[in-house]
């Protein structure tokens, strides 16, 4: 009995270009998210510093142009990543069985990315919408939002989701494209945990600080 496995010939260019674009967008999002965390943390230096920074971004139209551009990158990234997300129940079951069977850290990392992605898709979109439809950004308005309580809970959930997704994201990009060699893998993994921890902590301190900005 002759048994054959089907490996159909497929055309490459599209898959390759999509992968390249996915890498570039992913990289852009990582850089953006880390800078975003640092800029928001400027509240720790005082509302004046925060306002001055926000003012700077708006004066040069970085917020007005950058914001919608980011929303576009965000959505494009979603559509590209969606190629990899198992949407059918059968595929989800296969991945889940395989992941559980293997008890393998890097395979889990991907599951973490897919799950956090679903939160980010919805919550990130809401966040971007709320901020961009209420320009200019000021410490006052942000603090008022966070102090309602609802938004505090919202951000407390979104923050670790984003940081875990971004941390796993750059680690995996590094692995896929060989920036992280196998000899440096463990070190990179540790760095990922530390950096992710740092940004979650920074985010928490930032949120705490917003709770104590007196809203005029």
């Amino acid at each position: 009995m002759q048994y054959q496995v089907a490996f159909p010939t497929a055309s490459g260019s599209r898959a390759a270009l999509l992968d390249l674009v996915q890498m570039l967008l992913g990289l852009a999002l990582v850089v953006f998210m880390y800078l975003h965390a640092l800029f928001v943390a400027s509240i720790l230096l005082g509302p004046q510093v925060f306002n001055a920074l926000a003012d700077f971004f708006e004066r040069y139209y970085l917020a007005q142009v950058g914001g919608p551009l980011l929303a576009l990158v965000f959505l494009t990234h979603f559509f590209m990543a969606a190629r990899r997300i198992p949407f059918s129940q059968q595929d989800q079951k296969k991945v889940w069985t395989s992941t559980r069977m293997l008890a393998h850290r890097d395979t889990w990392l991907w599951t973490v990315q897919v799950v956090t992605a679903m939160f980010i898709l919805i919550m990130g979109a809401i966040h971007i919408w709320v901020v961009l439809t209420d320009l200019p950004i000021t410490a006052d308005k942000s603090a008022a939002r966070i102090q309602t309580g609802f938004w505090l809970g919202f951000y407390l959930l979104l923050l670790p989701m984003v940081e875990m997704h971004v941390g796993a994201g750059w680690y995996r990009l590094g692995i896929k494209w060989g920036v992280i060699k196998s000899s440096a893998r463990n070190k990179a993994k540790r760095a990922e945990y530390y950096i992710t921890g740092f940004f979650i902590l920074l985010g928490l301190i930032t949120l705490a600080r917003f709770m104590f900005v007196s809203v005029s």
Partner: protein
């Protein structure tokens, strides 16, 4: 005191009407240096002659005995029971056609994969039996040899979530194999031709970089670095394909 081992083994014979998949338990007293090759043979000899599993070389060379051992794809002949807890769960390697119990048909998969990759040296030079052999640079020869150590056991495919989801994904063994031909100076295929073969979602761009493959390969092949190498090379080729001033 020797340990009493409990083997929980997947049983199913697709050839037999009325057979349904399930786990069966066997007990065996551990002896010194017992490995799974010996243990499974003992079980078959003394407890259940119908148990199916594959072995050939029992020395980690042929790749026939790969199975999922307590959740990890490994070679049974290279696994000592002393490394495992008292309860040992054995499953067939996923992603391949099940022959029965622990036996799967990796051969058909690898044959199809190698045909798809056209795994042979492509050259248009005429072979002259009287000419002295061309000597290959020693370092290149060693680099090729390093990748040629793959025994086609299929562990990397069994450990790859992508391959489980998509049966047309060729997996790390295939990318390692094509990398070997990319290195070989006798193979005259251009990067454009290699791209036609692996610059796809069935090939390197389907890989999500989860590294299950790298972490289970019993021959410790440098799969992580090879996957990245092929991805970079093919990524570059993808750009060249759309830039009109590149002919090749």
């Amino acid at each position: 005191m020797n340990r009493k081992l409990t083997f929980s083994i997947f049983r199913y014979n697709p050839q037999e009407t009325g057979s349904s998949p399930g786990m069966r338990e066997f007990r065996l007293e551990e002896t010194e240096n017992l490995n799974l090759f010996v243990a499974l043979n003992l079980i078959r000899e003394t407890q259940d002659p119908s148990l199916q599993f594959d072995f050939c070389c029992r020395a980690g060379i042929c790749g026939a005995c790969a199975m999922v051992i307590n959740g990890r794809p490994r070679l049974a002949c290279r696994t000592k029971t002393a490394e495992l807890p008292e309860k040992i769960v054995l499953m067939p390697l996923p992603g391949f056609r099940l022959v029965g119990d622990l036996s799967v048909d990796t051969g058909a998969w690898f044959r199809s994969m190698n045909e798809r990759l056209r795994s042979w040296i492509h050259t248009d030079e005429n072979f002259d039996p009287d000419a002295p052999e061309v000597v290959m640079d020693n370092q290149v020869a060693e680099e090729i040899y390093e990748l040629d150590r793959c025994i086609e056991c299929g562990c990397c495919i069994g450990a790859c979530a992508t391959a489980q989801m998509r049966s047309d994904f060729m997996g790390a063994a295939a990318m390692n194999r094509i990398a070997r031909f990319m290195l070989d100076p006798r193979d005259k295929r251009t990067n454009r031709e290699f791209f036609e073969i692996v610059g796809t979602d069935q090939g390197i761009f389907g890989c999500m970089g989860l590294l299950g493959c790298h972490d289970v390969c019993p021959k410790n092949l440098p799969l992580q670095d090879q996957l990245a190498h092929v991805r970079r090379k093919m990524g570059r080729q993808a750009l060249k394909n759309i830039l009109p001033w590149y002919k090749n």
